[in-house]
């Protein structure tokens, strides 16, 4: 596939929304890019990395989103165009900094890219981060395809620089993870020189990059003036467009991924001559004069947008201030119940809403076929999320399960955010009974670990991944040691930020560019904080159980167990072959009669193990098995055999 920096203006290439955002930043001359991995935003920095050396760009995975944005702001203050990208949850981590950054303003163009995940396809929460722009006065751009993702990102740098404030480009999963044609623009040939000159002057708020008491109120006032200048530009922006008849029976106002859903729904319903679409690309501040003109096209307005009624509320506010003799408008959307206020949308939901308002029925396919297809498809068993074959976390959770059972005090685990979130599901033997945001496993354990005076004696095990540990668990561990909280923090170190695509982190010794760098050693760090540290191999189930039992029996203290084993997908990628050939000896396998009722296939549950109904024995599925050999240690009959490859 072509490199992201091909110098071929006018050429059409197929780009993922996230690749298009990266290309837009390149076309704007971005020289500093930072991020923390998280679906659906990760590919933005990964794409920049592929050309960073040649284009003299500093690209980094920061330890978390707040540091990523702070680092990008530092570059901007010193005269370098910078971009920080993150997923919606990450913006929460960064938002404290954003609240002051909007006060001080920026230096060179500073763009914040936030990728929301409506429908929580790969997230532990559902948020509409556009709301932060209203809250913190940030100009907001919402691309509706890869072309706009590129063009808007490029423009956002100019806008940020001209206004002197940070601008947000807001994407969603269906934009970030969809590939469409993009016509490339020119790549600039700029030499960047970094130098910081601002000096704080108490008499001139706005000079210097300094916020302190008394000053911010005036800075807030200045920020509103910046927003007013943004509004001026938005009123004539080509990113806002109406398509449809001059006068429409229904006006659909939409943005982002919903632009295409709405257009497709109207075409499906053959209502092109009756229903118009107002696509908004600059959604905060709302270009009110432009929208007011469009509202004159129809007395019925439907809002099609994902998650919160963001545009819907802005337009209703505008409508409340229209001249008294304006025609009465009827609004449809989340408030009326035509569009759901949660999860992602799709063309069907848009078509149903439009059809309902227009008094027709939407029938996507032959009714008889529909009935038959719906009935026959019921035979498809659902596929739940599972830990991969060969996943070291399977060994860890098996050991936690066994250790807590043997301890016998109804101990439990508290999960965190990563592949090991599956610790709360079948794949992790339901061991995690609580899971919240990154780092909160250790945080919540601070509370659970200080309840002795209330008679609490259940063992508490917090699990977090290696990347999560650095991201947000360290302050919780410091607090635990300081406040003498009793729990075991298990750091599941699989040598990567695995769930988001194996990005390196401070413990891996590699940076975003793949260069060798300093290792922030987690054992040394934890010991320096005063925590007791053990290290186990996730595949050594016996030793892990013994370690956990010892730590639980020993009593009080904040203890750390580093569970170390490389992610199987990384190993397989590097070694390109299985470590073992694994098979079940049918003479030894006792099938249904096995002590725990088919321990391997019913309890242990690795997808590489299947059940041969006819033979009544377990079997290895060679197209799925990773050859890790973990099941060999689990089988009580010694019926699973591994042979080194």
């Amino acid at each position: 596939m072509p490199r992201i920096d091909i110098d071929a203006p006018g050429t059409s290439v197929l780009l993922l929304g996230n690749e298009a955002i990266a290309r837009g930043a390149l076309e704007a001359g971005v020289a500093f890019a930072s991020s923390y991995p998280g679906n659906p935003s990760s590919e933005i920095l990964e794409t920049i990395v592929t050309v960073a050396t040649e284009r003299n760009i500093h690209a980094e995975w920061s330890v978390n989103e707040k540091v990523a944005l702070e680092a990008a702001a530092g570059a901007s203050f010193a005269g370098i165009r910078a971009m920080a990208s993150m997923k919606q949850n990450g913006l929460n981590v960064a938002s404290d900094f954003v609240s002051n950054l909007v006060m001080t303003g920026v230096g060179k163009g500073l763009v914040l890219v936030v990728c929301d995940d409506p429908g929580s396809l790969s997230s532990s929460s559902e948020l509409d981060t556009r709301n932060l722009c209203k809250w913190m006065d940030i100009p907001l751009l919402e691309p509706s395809n890869s072309q706009e993702a590129k063009d808007m990102t490029k423009w956002a740098f100019d806008l940020s620089e001209e206004l002197g404030t940070i601008c947000m480009v807001h994407s969603v999963s269906r934009i970030s993870h969809t590939r469409t044609n993009v016509k490339l623009g020119e790549l600039p040939k700029t030499e960047n020189k970094a130098y910081f000159t601002d000096i704080y002057d108490i008499n001139k708020p706005g000079r210097g990059k300094f916020t302190t008491i008394a000053g911010p109120a005036e800075l807030h006032n200045q920020l509103h003036q910046k927003l007013a200048r943004a509004l001026d530009k938005f009123e004539s922006s080509p990113f806002n467009q109406y398509t449809g008849p001059d006068k429409a029976e229904l006006l659909v106002i939409t943005s982002g991924a919903c632009v295409a859903y709405s257009a497709e729904a109207i075409a499906e319903l053959k209502l092109e001559n009756k229903v118009g679409v107002l696509k908004l690309g600059t959604t905060w501040p709302l270009p009110e004069k432009f929208v007011e003109k469009q509202l004159a096209r129809s007395q019925k307005v439907l809002f099609v947008e994902e998650v919160d009624p963001f545009i819907e509320r802005s337009v209703m506010e505008l409508a409340a201030n229209l001249p008294a003799d304006s025609p009465h408008l009827t609004f449809y959307g989340k408030r009326s119940g035509h569009i759901r206020q949660y999860a992602d949308l799709n063309p069907d939901l848009a078509a149903n809403a439009i059809a309902n308002i227009m008094g027709i029925t939407y029938c996507p396919r032959d009714v008889h076929y529909d009935e038959e297809a719906t009935e026959l498809a019921k035979a498809s068993p659902l596929r739940s999320l599972e830990l991969c074959p060969g996943c070291p976390h399977r060994g860890t959770f098996w050991a936690i399960k066994e250790a807590l059972r043997l301890d016998g005090r109804d101990g439990f685990a508290i999960g965190d955010v990563g592949c090991y979130s599956l610790g709360g599901f079948r794949s992790g033997y339901y061991q995690c009974r609580i899971s919240n945001v990154m780092g909160s496993g250790a945080g919540i354990s601070n509370g659970m670990g200080n309840l002795r005076q209330f008679g609490f004696d259940q063992p508490v095990i917090a699990v977090c991944g290696d990347s999560t540990f650095y991201h947000a668990s360290v302050p919780a561990l410091i607090s635990a040691v300081y406040n003498k909280a009793n729990f075991i923090l298990m750091i599941l170190d699989n040598s990567a930020t695995a769930m988001t695509g194996f990005q390196p982190h401070p413990g891996t010794g590699k940076n975003a560019m793949g260069e060798i760098t300093n290792i922030v050693d987690m054992e040394t760090l934890c010991r320096s904080l005063g925590a007791h540290v053990d290290v186990c191999d996730s595949f050594d189930i016996k030793n892990t159980i013994a370690t956990l039992l010892r730590l639980m029996a020993e009593g009080d203290g904040s203890k750390v167990v580093v569970m170390r084993h490389e992610c199987e997908l990384l190993r397989a990628r590097r070694e390109k072959k299985r470590p073992y050939q694994v098979h079940v000896d049918p003479d030894k396998c006792i099938g249904e009669a096995c002590g725990c009722d088919r321990l391997c296939t019913r309890e242990f549950g690795c997808p590489g193990l299947i059940w041969d109904k006819e033979a009544g024995k377990s079997k290895i599925d060679e197209s799925v098995c990773s050859g890790c050999g973990l099941c060999v240690d689990v089988c009580p009959q010694g019926a699973i055999i591994k042979e080194a490859v």
């Binding site: 993870h177 969809t178 469409t180 497709e264 396919r365 529909d370 498809s380 659902l382 592949c419 549950g605």
Partner: protein, 204 residues
């Protein structure tokens, strides 16, 4: 450029996480763009764990972009790397004119292995898929891939079958440079797998 049988032409590539359907849709998408088409490839994947149902929606047009998701009942071609996934997709996106090309080797969800859910009998399953398709092509892709030395070739075999079916405005020549770019070190092996797929559908 060959003309499209329909505009947009809607293709769904389905499978189980880890089988390589995202790569397959990326390669086909790029080949189509190089032939001058407007293409949309919407991947439905979440966390990178393996084992979940995954599908890519590919919209092909000679003049415009359509939504990243195909409306219900509007698939023209379904290619599935796993048979139950073909049935699942037909359940939502099938219609009386749809053509289905499916791999026949099941990937059993752990819930089935543990006895919590049932996987349909393979003959019944293929019968249901056939009933819901105007045309059905079955390909024994996983077994052929294992014969080639690695089940990883399943997706490229299925890609060969899709191109061999003649349903897309693409031929072997348009895919060759794409495979060369994507698999620079293992191009030859992938070309063998691709040809195997074409052969299995009768176009070798």
């Amino acid at each position: 450029m060959r003309t499209l049988s329909k505009d947009p032409l809607n293709l769904i590539i389905a499978g189980v996480g880890g089988q390589g359907n995202v790569v397959m849709s990326l390669l086909i998408g790029n080949a189509l763009v190089r032939q001058g088409y407007c293409v949309g490839v919407g991947d439905t994947f979440g966390a990178s764990q393996r084992g979940g149902s995954v599908a890519s929606h590919i919209r092909i047009s000679d003049h415009t972009h359509y939504s990243s998701l195909i409306p219900s009942g509007h698939a023209d071609i379904i290619v599935s790397l796993e048979p139950v996934e073909a049935l699942r997709i037909l359940g939502q996106f099938g219609n009386p004119d749809v053509v289905t090309i499916t791999n026949v080797r099941p990937v059993y969800p752990p819930a089935v292995v543990s006895g919590l859910a049932t996987y349909p009998d393979i003959d019944e399953l293929l019968k249901a898929i056939k009933k819901l398709s105007a045309r059905l092509e079955t390909v024994n892709a996983t077994d052929e891939a294992i014969k080639l030395g690695n089940p990883i070739f399943t997706n490229v075999i299925m890609m060969g079958a899709l191109i061999g079916s003649g349903l897309l405005p693409l031929d072997k020549k348009s895919l060759e440079p794409i495979l060369q770019e994507y698999f620079p070190k293992v191009f030859d092996m992938n070309m063998i797998a691709f040809n195997k797929g074409m052969e299995l559908i009768g176009k070798g």
